[in-house]
């Protein structure tokens, strides 16, 4: 039995590691995402709002004299996280404001500003604009968060790794087994002494090996290049990645259990991955989202995988701190695995 499992494990690994395009994509994709977000949301470059400034030749001369309005404007201009964009034409600037390309528009020389009534960002920038003229309130005392804060990119990083594990687990098993069935490779294997559970075990083990290897290489690479920090234990991180990966592979087995159409399997896999990508807090937090959305999110394995990984990497959580995530991923894995194994058929329907 083990010789057959080991043989197919090696065979599948050969297929994966020799397929240069798939291999490259598995490594390059997360690097590109992290690099892109690092560039967009780096500590110095992060902007939340955009404000337009109307500058004419006259007003440029006027600004040299720093009139009263201009002086106030210069204080406002020092506000962090607002990007200021110069416009020479008032009409062009108002058009941008109308289409929410900018959140706020000001002409310091004339002392006028414009906001769109329908823009929440515009409302916030207007408040910031007014606040910049006042001194700090004396009734409240400013406090700062103790310890190192978590930059957005470091918060995002476990999400990207989780998303990569999701794609690798689901498509790596789901798509491959469907292709084997379509090309009659499964049919050929079915007439050997190979048992279905031996075949499935070999595919699961191979995908887990590939998935964990690529994840930790990407993790090491990102830490090296982007100086990310893991505040928890690598052993715990391995456990949560392994459990999360296993649940994805098991879910992929359900998709692959019967179908022989790559198009159909691709559609189903997209149907599974897209909601997870948006509702499992890969890119943004669901804090404040509708309670039903938050509850639905708890049904998705990616939510628990990313939640656990973030707690370990960002907060230094131990295994006991993530016992809920571990339990949920274990339960989901068992349910998916049993369902996929029961449904599995060698042949096309």
């Amino acid at each position: 039995m083990w010789r057959r499992i080991w043989t197919l494990f090696k065979t599948r690994n050969h297929e994966f590691f020799r397929d240069k395009s798939a291999l490259g994509w598995n490594f390059v994709f997360p690097f590109l995402i992290i690099a892109g977000f690092g560039f967009l949301f780096g500590d110095n470059g992060k902007t939340l709002y955009k404000a337009g400034i109307i500058r004419t030749e006259v007003s440029e001369t006027a600004s040299m004299n720093l009139s009263s309005n201009n002086l106030k404007f210069e204080i406002f201009r020092k506000t962090n996280f607002i990007e200021f964009i110069d416009f020479k034409s008032k009409d062009a600037a108002i058009e941008k404001l109308r289409h929410h390309r900018i959140d706020f528009l000001i002409n310091p020389d004339s002392g006028k500003y414009w906001v769109s009534k329908s823009s929440p960002n515009g409302y916030i920038v207007e408040k910031l604009f007014h606040a910049s003229f006042y001194d700090k309130p004396e009734t409240f005392i400013k406090q700062t968060i103790k310890g190192r804060e978590v930059p957005y990119v470091e918060w995002l990083f476990p999400g990207i790794l989780g998303m990569n594990i999701m794609f690798s687990g689901l498509f790596g098993v789901g798509y491959v087994v469907v292709r084997y069935r379509k090309n009659d490779v499964l049919k050929r294997l079915s007439v050997t002494p190979l048992k279905p559970y031996e075949f499935l075990t070999s595919q699961i083990l191979s995908r887990m090996y590939i998935l964990l290897t690529t994840t930790f290489i990407v993790l090491a690479g990102c830490m090296l290049f982007f100086k990310f920090e893991n505040r928890g234990s690598y052993a715990n991180l391995f456990i949560i990645f392994a459990l999360g990966g296993f649940s994805m592979v098991a879910l992929g087995l359900i998709v692959a259990s019967r179908s022989s159409s790559e198009e159909f399997a691709g559609g189903i896999l997209n149907l599974i991955t897209w909601p997870m990508m948006f509702l499992s807090e890969v890119w943004f937090s669901l804090e404040g989202a509708h309670p039903l959305v938050q509850q639905f999110s708890k049904l998705l394995p990616l939510t628990h995988l990313i939640d656990g990984a973030r707690k370990i990497m960002n907060d230094g959580a131990g295994l006991l701190d993530i016992k809920y995530q571990v339990l949920m991923l274990t339960l989901m894995s068992i349910v998916f695995l049993v369902t996929g194994s029961v449904l599995f058929k060698w042949q096309k329907d």
């Binding site: 010789r3 057959r4 043989t7 197919l8 090696k10 065979t11 050969h14 297929e15 020799r18 397929d19 090309n183 009659d184 490779v185 049919k187 050929r188 294997l189 079915s190 007439v191 050997t192 002494p193 190979l194 042949q347």
Partner: protein, 294 residues
Amino acid sequence: MQPILEVRNLVKCFPEVRAVDDISFIIEPGTCFGIIGPNGAGKTTTIEVIEGILSQTSGDILYKGKKRGTIFNEEVGIQLQNTELPMFLTVKETLDTFRNLYNNMADLDDLVETCHLKDIINRDNRKISGGQKQRLLLSMALANDPELVFLDEPTTGLDPQARRNLWDIVNLIKQKNKTVVLTTHYMDEAQILCDRIALMDYGKIIAIGSPAELLEKHCKGTTLSIKNTINKNMLEKLPWEWFKIQDRIEIHTNEINECINFLLENKIDLSTMVVRSQNLEDLFLKMTGKQLRV
């Protein structure tokens, strides 16, 4: 001698078709048994039911006198009709993979030599020709040094030279005293390779026996083939069985001299005439009224 395989009253029904319709036959060890018929005759369904890929609707299949169990999968070798090879593997790795699925592994060097794979042993599966692929698929069927080998249309789509190469390999397998079950729609292939054949059409066996027995029993005569320039009235006057095959007329006769005289007397142009002994193709035509390869 106990048959290595016995099929009794086998029936396989699909929702809209009775693909195998109550067929029975036995296969002696060390022989080559051919299942012959046109596309859709039920050859592949029959062989796939025996192999265990499909389940039978009714009937019995006995391997060495017993129902097929796990030992069947260990002791038989199977070449399917259309199988893709695993991607990104070399020929050697593919063979090793399949050898390792069995408890009884054939010797690798022996396999390579038997199936003429030496020149391509380290080549990627994706870079081998059609004939080389068929040889590799055949070697995969021999990966467990099987007693019984199923070959489902192994030469379909191959050029004449590749077909002959494969026939040589099948003959080598026969020489090793293995039992071969072969499906084909090439009559020459069946006549050269098979010791016994079953002729199938519409899921039924319409004739069974050795090629010589079948020809002796059903096709003793001669086939005269000429281009179809004979008018309809004349054809109806022909005292022998005749068939229209594309743009030619084939006349089956035991009296070739009389037949030629008749045609000459009726001023039929014999410049395109071909005369040959009857073969299995003629047998099939005679029994079903249609060509084998359609």
